[in-house]
Amino acid sequence: MGFTRDSLSNSHQTHNLDKEFLSAPIKSTVDKFQLIPEFLKMRGLVKEHLDSYNYFMNTGIKKIVRVNSEIRSSVDREIYLKFKDVKVGEPSVVLDGVAEKIKPHSCRLSNMTYAAPIEAHIEYVTESGGKKEVHEKKDVIIGRMPVMLRSRCCVLYGKDETELAKLGECPLDPGGYFIVKGNEKVIMIQEQLSNNRIIIEIDKKGNLAASVTSSGVALRSKSVIVMEKEKIYLQLNQFQSKVPIMAVMKAMGMQSDQEVVQMIGRDPRYSSLLLPSIEECAGFGVHSQQQALEFLEKKVKPSQFPSALPQKENRALKILRDVFIAHVPVRENNFRSKCTYAAVMLRRMLDAFLNKAAVDDKDYVGNKRFELSGQLLSLLFEDLFKTMGEEVKRKVDAVLMKKSRSSRFDFSQHIIKDTISFGLERALSTGNWCAKRFRVDRKGVTQVLARLSYIQALGFLTKIQPQFEKSRKVSGPRALQPSQWGMLCPCDTPEGESCGLVKNLALMTHVTTDEEEGPLVSLCYEHGVEDPGLLSGEELHSSKSFVVMCNGLILGKQRTPQKFANALRRLRRSGKIGEFVSVFVNQQQSCVYIASDGGRVCRPLVIADKGVSRIKQHHMKELQDGVRTFDDFLRDGLIEYLDVNEENNALIALYEDEAEPETTHIEIEPFTILGVISGLIPFPHHNQSPRNTYQCAMGKQAMGNIAYNQLFRMDTLLYLLVYPQRPLLTTKTIELVKYDKLGAGQNATVAVMSYSGYDIEDAIVMNKSSLDRGFGRCIVMKKKSTIMQRFENNASERIIPPKREGYSAERMQALDDDGIAAPGQMIRQDDLLVNKQTPMVTRGPISSGVVPDSDYRATPLKYTGFTGDNSVVDRVALFSDKNSNLCINFIIRQTRRPEVGDKFSSRHGQKGVCGTIVQQEDFVFSERGICPDLIMNPHGFPSRMTVGKMIELLGGKAGVSCGRYHYGSAFGEPSGHADKVEDISETLVKHGFSYNGKDFLYSGITGEPLQAYIFMGPIYYQKLKHMVLDKMHARGFGPRAILTRQPTEGRARNGGLRVGEMERDCLIAYGASNLIYERLMISSDPFQVQVCRKCGLLGYYNHKLKAGICSACKNGDNISTMKLPYACKLLFQELQSMNIVPRLKLADA
């Protein structure tokens, strides 16, 4: 602000020089930072959403259709319809029967759903006159699938910046959400405990339990093996009570106790632990399979439908086959694999009994899976598709049942499109995920993409919703897990009830999608995994051999696990198997876990051989020259993805020079452990941790720019900064997420000092001249809309030209000649936006063709909104909705300059309101003539410990004087992505400032120097959306509630301010009885009643007789008039209605 033109242009030159310096390679270690932009370029910020959705579109949907491909009539078995293939077409909308291609932005503007037709290739039977023919038809639309923006089906896929601009889309918008009825909806990432994995836990009663949540093809079940009083039982929903595990094993064909013991392990400790269970089982007289099955049969829960009684004997066996650990397949009643699995479960549990450390940690990220849009949609789609199949079948059966059919029967005519279309649309717009078939009933799966700021929208897409209830007072799931490192952001979580439960993905995290496991399994067998079917129970657990598990199934055993794992990893690095397959050798459990399932979190790491990074200088050079991409790094085996489990087998060095010979991997950049939002904080590693968390919550409320197309969007509420700036002190994350292009704040010169006393409790003092010049100025826009309704009798609402003269002319001053407010018009409270009229008769036929003017009543759209008189109509948009009614949307705009009480915050969780606004001449000024924009009280620092803010100030000051953006990336000092304080100080000194950032200031009031040096420099300040103008409220008189006749409550209803109980207590204690009387009666709900002195009941006032009458005594002899609160009268009447008679006894006062 105090710099001349020359110094600015000079600094510009130095800036150019520095760019070269920056891009120059760093000598010793390879600077791998360049990988991150490359990674994000390849991946985008929301790849997990897109990947998941694309997978569903390309593979998932086809699988579902293939599984449920046939609809066959039960009346005539030869009449059927078969789905041979299915694909999703281009996004389009059907208008008047014609399909029209659509752009996402037009959907936003005209409340449409951005969806594409699901086109099926069908084979079906037609019948006419008993002759049946088989036909085929392609591209039959069976429904409409909402399309995720930027997914492969979306028109935005693969478009560059100019093309996107032509489509009205912001190039920085990440996509990954849906547009349903004009609303942007995000399917939140759902956190869940992983399926099909054995988890050893301590249950509520303190018993040890091994549980598996199985999700098979057909069924989901939870099987729990629990150890109670030294005896082991199985808990299954289908059994009335817990059943002895030995009985279950016997029922599954392991009749010999020895076999069971062998299978679990020959270690005598195991057998001694099993002994009580074996004895108990023998005590029940269960020895053979037959006896076991009979025993279990008694425990089976009676069926819910008593009519459908199946053969009794088979029920227990069926449950064991289909429900118990349902994901383990049983072929031809061969229970061998299930027995093995149960034995492994038992063994793990006994292990945990012997060694408490073997209990699994439920909060361990490796035991978690993240459900993404693809999985959730496929669940819903499968349910809807099946429902549609049933509906079609019912409909077809009904048609075929008819004896006399005249017309030709064509199966393809009976496809119901609406089931799928509406089902998907409803689920997305309400967020209620309800699939009865899969026992799924979830609420709040989708949320409206909040677009208060660009960064909030980004944060929304990385947010992870928990499955735990928020009310439970547990600390475990909320605590920071060491396994979160690099996967989930340690800073970004909300405060309050969902603290620690709602998480956010870190910058480099990727969530996997399902991968075909067939080839992987056969590959494992080729690499020396021995099939458990060929092994005796004892051999499976022989020492030195490891059990190999793949996606929760037992593949067999391996004698050389390390070699095997290395071989698989080599295959992965060379791209022979999927890059997201994880191989994890668990020494403790003697297990090799191979995982290719979806929902695991993983992140890329640089591979190191004996502590030497595989990435060399020339690789990075090639990357910079553009001949190498991130994918090449993956393909050449320089980088690989590790998931949380496999990270346990790796020794990861933070930096290359810290690597030891045992090191297997090297981090790409340490700041990627933070997420998108916490990445905006400069020097977060110098701040007290909660401050970073606070900033994560506040950064989302900061005003700024939302998107490049912000002025062409029709958001219900939009906050924009007039002059947003890019932060002077940036971080690498800021550049990566393009926050520097859509900033939400301004670089304010801040003096840390006390001034005027209006700065206590974090209030800030602002310079009026700065505000005059545009600091903190913001634009608030609000949407108002109306629909021109058409009624059943074809009468419709109409808009008429405004009156230019007379009583109502003033209210219509904003209207154009067409009766709709014109853009650019100033508008005041209660002004008309649309001069609309509604016909009085909306039902039944209209007598004449034209409705006369007298049959309309005025139903105008009035403007009620911002206080203040500077609101302007910004835009008016007309469009027709799906019922082709005319809709009119108005955007009302108001420009505001900061005022006392507006909320501001720096990027370090230091929020404060504007305490006072001071003239520039009263402000302090430095020897260079610099006058701060705002003054912050130094008491904000000691308790908050936001050292990062101080360094931001220093770095900003140095940046402003040398003309180079300084960096403050997290943990960036060693790698050069954050400037060191020493270097910053040196720059400051070079430009004539004190090394400590303190300046010699003069008081603007006295003109004398201040008695201290003042810490002063630029800090990036955000203006938060909370403004006094939206909150201030006062009322003299106003509306009252109908029922109680008391003043209404709340600002929105222009309500009164309540004198509450505690206030009342104070007044009583003080003895201000007249004040109480006034507040509680006169100013509230005074009411005059006629009281009968005799019976004590309320009477009424007869206006003809001009006297009060008691309706109980039927006369007016003893009537007194008195005042009481209307609410009191109401209470009496309510009591009377309950047969309680309140009587008033009057006495002379």
Binding site: V872, T895, Q919, E921, F925, G992, G1007, Q1011
Partner: protein
Amino acid sequence: MPKLPDHLELKRTRVSCKLDAPNDTESVLYSGAYASLGVDNSSLESFFKDFKVVINRLTEDEIEFDMIGIDAALANAFRRILISEVPTMAIEKVLIAKNTSVVQDEVLSHRLGLIPLRVDPRLFSYKSEKDEPNEKNTIVFGLHAHCKRGGPRCTVKSEELKWQPNGSMFALEIENKGSSSTTAPKTYTNFKSNQDMQPEFSENPIHSKYPDITIARLGPGQEIELEAHAVKGVGKEHAKWSPVATAWYRMLPEVVLLKDVYDVDAEKLVKKCPANVFDIEDTPTGRRATAPRPRACTLCMECIREEGWDEILALRRKKDHFIFTIEATGALPPEVLFTEAVKVLEDKCERIITELS
């Protein structure tokens, strides 16, 4: 005439800038503060004798001068008046006929308001709320910018603000239309004469001080048509009327070597100072450090930062010597601004005198 003891004299006349904080920042105002020592602190006579103004630098927009022998309070008064009470002309009212650009009307008006105008405000009078805009209190600018369809985007610069000496061209909405078609239509201003007929403006047309201030950017097909009315005002009301970008002063630095610094230390000292305050001179006792350019000191403290150096060096400020800088925005040359400020102060004093008497 008795003199104050040295340590008191130092406290009276110097701010000593210690490493941790400046000391003795306050000035002693009371005339009888040192009466017990027989020293008169009131200084009207000495003020007449000693007061001096030395102009160091004067360019079109900037002046730096030394004001010696004056109190901080007075120097500050000039600074404050310069910032907030010397009037200028600035655009206050904008009539927008058409604005299809992305810049909102309010923002556009705000930007226009902040454009410095090169016009002598002394030739105009203040316009109060009820005054009719006339040639004595209003300057009208027109702006009509249009970006051709199919062409490249264009930038509207402040040079496109065209002075309209005849006043507003926009016709007021007339209540009774048919009454008089012969007279010129009534506009938003009521000019009795053309402004460019006045001798002050005939050779010196009014325009924006800088031709290259961006007002807005237009996309193809966008258009701005407006009229901007500038009136006289003071910076107290809005910063746009402030005649200075900023005006400030600093007290004259004084660097005193309390002890002699020789050879290695001297070189170290010279090297340490980024403002190049120190030099080395050869003396018979060796190479000794001197401080020949104390004026350049920015108080970066580098010289006394190291342990022990604050006993060798003293950084001070002279309390009655102000290096005053005015950065003008273009309405008036900086030297005139200062005299205007003095006049404002004079007026204020007179007002107080008349009100007291």
